[in-house]
């Protein structure tokens, strides 16, 4: 057998290609197909439904509320993650006067990211429940008269979840932006100094422009991760009160595993995938423009 170099290459990558196809493409195709069927678990039957699942989803007012909640969560979470990550990365940068604290603080800052969502949620439930730490402190300081149910208001529950997510996730963004900052050649700052650039100008024209591709990549990833976020909502509010923290992931999960309607859940899942893909394409184009 005398195989060409190219053919041998294909043979070597074939097993991993097959594994990747089986683990990614097959589930997507399966879900895409299931979205066209009524699959109500108690009956055990799978009946062709055409576009009925998509029509039901799009005519459900709750779906739009859930979409809005998800948008609010994604926008503010991503902005906060990147802003806090950038601020702290610059703060810890070796060129900064606080650099001496850098290694110690990095260890401290990374702790929330090391926790699992269940642990992080438990900690914040203990802090925020009506008999929790926050109320005790505020009442002790005389800043509150009565206990407040911080997760009990439809107006503020999402705010708390965004803040908790920011607390949990910022170290990841901080570390990656910090790593990007360390790769900027010192000469660029020296040139900027010679050109008379002040601190703000150096940050914007040297630091920020150099790390922009990293920030954009992190942005894409964070948008996709935030759209998929499930744990924090399930573990703290369960989507309440009054569906104010019900997001797409929770909605799909509830349709599948509580209502037991896997066909409908699949159609909702496909819509999430389309939304994520559209945002990703938009972001990648933005990224290409920033790079080019």
């Amino acid at each position: 057998m005398n195989l060409g170099r190219e053919a041998k290459g294909y043979i070597w990558v074939a097993p991993m290609t097959i594994v990747l196809l089986l683990t990614t493409l097959v589930p997507v195709v399966y879900i895409l197909g299931l979205g066209f069927f009524e699959n109500y678990l108690p009956t055990g039957r799978v009946i062709w439904a055409g576009l009925a699942n998509y029509r039901e989803t799009l005519s459900d007012p709750l779906f739009y509320k859930v979409l809005g909640n998800t948008a609010v969560y994604v926008i503010f979470s991503v902005l906060l993650h990147l802003a806090i990550g950038l601020f702290l990365a610059v703060f810890l940068d070796k060129r900064n006067r606080f650099a001496v604290l850098s290694s110690g603080l990095r260890v401290v800052f990374i702790i929330p990211w090391l926790l699992s969502w269940s642990v992080a949620s438990s900690i914040w439930l203990l802090i925020l429940n009506p008999s929790g730490v926050l109320n005790s402190i505020l009442i002790g300081l005389g800043l509150l008269e009565d206990k407040v149910a911080w997760f009990g208001s439809p107006d503020f529950a999402m705010v708390w979840i965004i803040l908790i997510t920011a607390w949990k996730a910022f170290p990841f963004y901080m570390m990656l932006i910090y790593a990007a900052l360390t790769t900027i050649p010192e000469e660029l700052y020296e040139s900027a100094s010679i050109d008379g650039a002040n601190l703000v100008q150096k940050f914007y024209y040297v630091s920020f422009q150099s790390i922009l591709p990293t920030m954009l990549t992190l942005g894409v990833l964070d948008i996709i991760w935030s759209i998929r976020q499930y744990d924090i909502f399930a573990l703290t509010t369960g989507g309440g009160p009054l569906d104010s923290t019900r997001t797409l992931s929770l909605h799909v999960y509830s349709t599948a595993f509580e209502n037991l309607r896997f066909g409908l859940a699949s159609s909702q899942g496909i819509m999430i995938m389309l939304i994520s893909s559209l945002i990703s394409v938009f972001y990648i184009r933005l990224y290409s423009r920033a790079e080019g």
């Binding site: 055990g44 009506p130 009054l242």
Partner: protein, 424 residues
Amino acid sequence: MKRKLLFGIICLLLTAAMGFAAGQQEGATGDESVTLKVWSWVYSQGEGPVLKAVLQDYRDQNPNVTIEEIDTPWAQAHDKFIVMNQSKDVPQITGVNRNWLTEFVSIGALTDLTPYVESVPGMRDKYYDAVKGEMDGKVWVLPYSGGNAALVYNKKVFAEKGLTPPATLQEFVEVGKILSDPAANKYATQLCIAESNSTGAHVCNYGPVLYSFGGKYLEGKKAAFNSPEGVEALEWMIALEKDLNIAGPGSITVDARAMRESLAGGSSFMNFDGSWGTPFYNKYPEVEIGIAPMPKGASMGTVINIANWGIPAKAKNKDAAWDLLKFIESDENMLRLFEEANVMPCMPKYGELPQFQEKYSGFLITLAESDNFMQTGSVPHESDLYKILVRAYQKAYLGQASAKDALDAAAVEYNKLLDRFYSN
């Protein structure tokens, strides 16, 4: 290069062969080594230490059996089981909460245990009728821990104030007013209606109160919780917190665990709770917990809810699984559970013993005298029902709808699910 290619192909074949062999091992029977996966949420609860000790005893007696203890958080247990059941990777023995029973049987997720149970003389009849895991004349699950809801209270505080536990819902309010001191952040009771634990909300609070008011979740094949009794029950619960100030704030964010912590921590003094909550108080021996019957309204209402064991329909090695299940449910090991884990007996043989009669009198009296009760697992889409009603509670609680309107809307939503369930 050819040798490298051949080596790669051999490696792939060997890996596939090893995977196949590993797959075979789990299905082994007889004297061969057997692996049994026991999946439940009770490992991390009060029953956990006893269960682990019992499983260890079984391992010691059966060296060929490997038992994998798989712990799962209670809040996700139901949904995780549905996911497992969709795959073929199910445990040999699974925890099944009573309120999942109709659903799990309807989707064919459980093995009919009747032939197994009937092969052991007296086993089918050794449990209280109200806790038996039977449907349509078949045994699907065996009860383990749980019981029914009643009134759990702080004996010491009641004694200090010269109070006796309230016998009626009216007295509950009167005693509540004496016990509450909102200025000191002390409240007579704490309700738990968090959406993140909607089952806890219903089996501990909403259900017992609804049934005590004479209401019901379901009548025939239609929602009945929006009856006048249901509306009255919901209004009463909200008033405890909003108007009478005798229930701690934020009930819509408090789950059953936090409710128990409030009683153990001295923030509340009498809570509606189930006997499944009593193992929690083992951790707080300094708190003297008393159990009183459920205060009466139009009825003496309660909810009966039990954690059970079942064998998934897709499980391999069912005979070996039954042997272990029989061991867990043996009289000796059940008595050990009742004694050591502070669990109310689900078997009359032990429930009638004086030490348990005294300890669980409130639960047992409620069980005996209740004229309007709900046995979880008896209505379709029960998890959905609980979520729908928690949202109705939230609407009324937050003043976005009257109790009547919120419950009527919830009834429409739940009836749609019932229609789909019964029409298929």
